[in-house]
Amino acid sequence: MATMQSPAADPAMKPGLDYGAAFKDACLAGIIAFLIFGLLLGYETQQTLTNQIILVPRTMLLAGVVAIVVIGRFLINLWSAHRAQTLKTAPTKTTNPLLLKLEAQAGPAFLIAAVLFPAIVIIANGELQSSRYLVDLGILLLTYVMLGWGLNVVVGLAGLLDLGYVAFYAVGAYTYALLATTLVKLPGLEWLAPWMFWICLPVSGLLAALWGVILGFPVLRLRGDYLAIVTLAFGEIIRLVLINWVDVTNGGAGISSIPRPTFFGLPFSAADNGFAATFGITFDPMHRIIFLYYVIVALAAVTFIVTLRLRRLPIGRAWEALREDEIACRSLGINTTNTKLTAFSIGAMFGGFAGCFFAARQGFISPESFVFMESAIILAIVVLGGLGSMLGVIIATMVLIGGPEMLRNVESLRLVFGSDFDPTKYRMLILGIGMVLIMIWKPRGLISTREPTVTLGKKAQAISGDFVKEGHG
């Protein structure tokens, strides 16, 4: 918690490099840290063979953490005092102009980068198998980018705070899993098996959109935090139903052996009618991974293009107007319920597509994948990126998902902390700290400006985030 000691939070700090005061304050922080961490970190609870819990002291760890807090707090104090002296006027808060230029070209640039990514990775590695980790990571990141873009329609454009978005992801995934595993067993439908993914993809999206309407209809007149909580409740209800309705969903055990997607009918197998044999290349399991990668690239690209188009249409402008002022919308004859529902269901549809893809990629799904934390992470991606910003979603995904994932590979951490150090354990912890810190640093997200959807003049000027509202529902 040392890192959370924000300088702005301490009114007692006066400007001026007063080392004594800074030190005193740091010592106070140390005492507080000692009190807080004294037991929580200072002792480890261990279970004995007789199921007794005993306390094992971890004095060094505690001392280290307290020392970090004291030193960190001291340095922050000095730094903030120094800054208060040198900066008499607050710097104006604008988004980096470079980012603004990027935002305009984000779509195409990102698409090109995404398309080239596997090729670069494979060339760099020299062969297919060793590239698997990075391509898998690419699939993971793109899935979150797609989910972020889908939720962005709901939260960023329409200003509706949805904490249960993962429910639609689950609807998409279970639609595919259930349809694919039951349909192929039906007599006379076996020939459908290779095409299952392509049949179920639109069905998943449509069903998720339908659920968006069903869940959205009663709740969309609620405002602000209430809407957030109801959507959270719905998300949890769907998950609990998935766990408990064992006859259909197989409960917590999940659904396995979900048919994998095929190359438009050609399975990725070593068989004679497989992808590799048909194209006369040697079979490699990486073919499927790369194919999956391009499927999610295509899905994300569709999401991007459709969202961009919708934004420039009356419906998209109505979403944004709704975020800005719902009462004014009603005074202009806009049916706000329908407008909210379209935003909710289109966001849900993208979630459903992503869910279908997820189920096909994993081959196994269980309710464990659709916990509230997933919704929170997707929402964090949207908010940290900057509401409404497509580029923001990409950057936030890289930071929040890619960053902690990268920890896995940093060998030097093992050298510091010992060989049994597992950085992935700290992934979520770092995610939590990151969310808090980024909010304090940039409450409006990394990209807070808004692109106009239509202009009279030639040059589009981005609108400062100070004018853009966040919606109340």
């Binding site: 705070l161 209800i237 908010v383 969310m435 808090v436």
Partner: protein, 318 residues
């Protein structure tokens, strides 16, 4: 959550009902205590403190650690003294944690973008949960059962109505602390300052109320009550896990909403109701769907009577 005796055939129906009533009130007191933290923070700064459920879980861990520390390292054998120390220490440390959290994660965001404190709170919730997981492990932490004696109230044979000592302790401590708390917010200048900030924090500041400090104290009070709940939870169930914050947190929030968010008596009434509904639902319908029931109540209440049972209705301003 609590183990229930199986439903008797024909006879013992009244006893079974009475037993569920006792269990429900016990559980409800725990929810009520957590709900007060939600309702007070929402009342004063209009924010759903997402991390409150996890704070409750942290307080439960603190209680566990203090209990082990006091019994094994200090070596106090009297259960009464131990539990008193555990309760007070957990209240103090949890309050301190919430004070730091408010000061570092929420205060810098006050008056900023409305979503920012919510995201910060979600981040804090993830942080608390995973901090405990990293620091104390992911496994359940069981504690040897205590206060296991029961008092038979009625019935005989298999159909008894019993109230255990720990249930008595939980309900009594809850009632006592609620009385103290009630006195604090209704009869002291501090309570007046809180209510003033609730009505109009800018005006309150103009009238010389230290709004920041009042909000800090609100968080501290909410945390102290959550710590009472956390300690009681540990005593009642004898086990705690790093993931135990979320579901009780949502249920307590449901209680706050059901009672009418912003209303303190509402939080207690809502907590008792949720505790009773959950217990009776598990006892008479299906234990699997008890959480579905709680979440459904939350959704239904928010949709059809967002002002709750004891809250004030909101008029849309045009």
């Amino acid at each position: 959550m609590a183990g229930q005796p199986s439903l008797g055939q024909g006879q013992g129906i009244v006893e079974y009902f009475a037993q569920q009533l006792i269990n429900g009130v016990t559980l409800g007191s725990i929810y009520g205590l957590i709900a007060i933290g939600y309702t007070m923070v929402f009342g004063i700064i209009g924010m759903v403190n997402f991390a409150h459920g996890d704070l409750f879980m942290v307080s439960s861990f603190i209680a566990l650690l203090v209990f082990l520390f006091v019994t094994t390292i200090v070596g106090i054998t009297s259960l009464f003294i131990t539990l008193t120390i555990v309760l007070l220490a957990s209240m103090f440390l949890t309050s301190l944690i919430n004070w730091v959290i408010e000061k570092s994660a929420y205060r810098p965001l006050r008056g900023s973008f409305r979503l920012a404190p919510l995201i910060s709170a979600i981040g804090m919730s993830i942080l608390l949960m995973n901090f405990i997981q990293v620091a104390q492990g992911a496994r359940n932490k069981p504690l040897a059962p205590m206060l296991t004696d029961v008092i038979k109230i009625a019935g005989e044979g298999n159909f008894v109505v019993a109230i255990s000592y720990k249930q008595i302790v939980i309900v009594a401590v809850t009632a006592l602390l609620l009385a103290v708390f009630w006195y604090l917010v209704q009869r002291t200048p501090l309570g007046r300052a809180q209510r003033a900030c609730e009505q109009d924090s800018r005006m309150a500041a103009l009238l010389g109320i230290n709004v920041d400090r009042t909000i800090s104290i609100t968080f501290v009070m909410g945390a102290a009550l959550a710590a009472v709940a956390g300690t009681m939870y540990l005593v009642y169930y004898g086990v705690v896990n790093f993931a135990d914050g979320f579901v009780p947190g949502v249920k307590a929030f449901t209680a706050a909403v059901l009672g009418g968010i912003g209303s303190l008596p509402g939080a207690v009434v809502g907590g008792l109701l949720i505790g009773l509904i959950e217990t009776f639902w598990s006892a008479y319908f299906s234990i699997e769907y008890k959480d579905v029931a709680a979440f459904s109540i939350l959704a239904v209440v928010l949709i059809f009577m967002p002002q709750g049972l004891l809250g004030k209705p909101e008029v849309e301003k045009v």
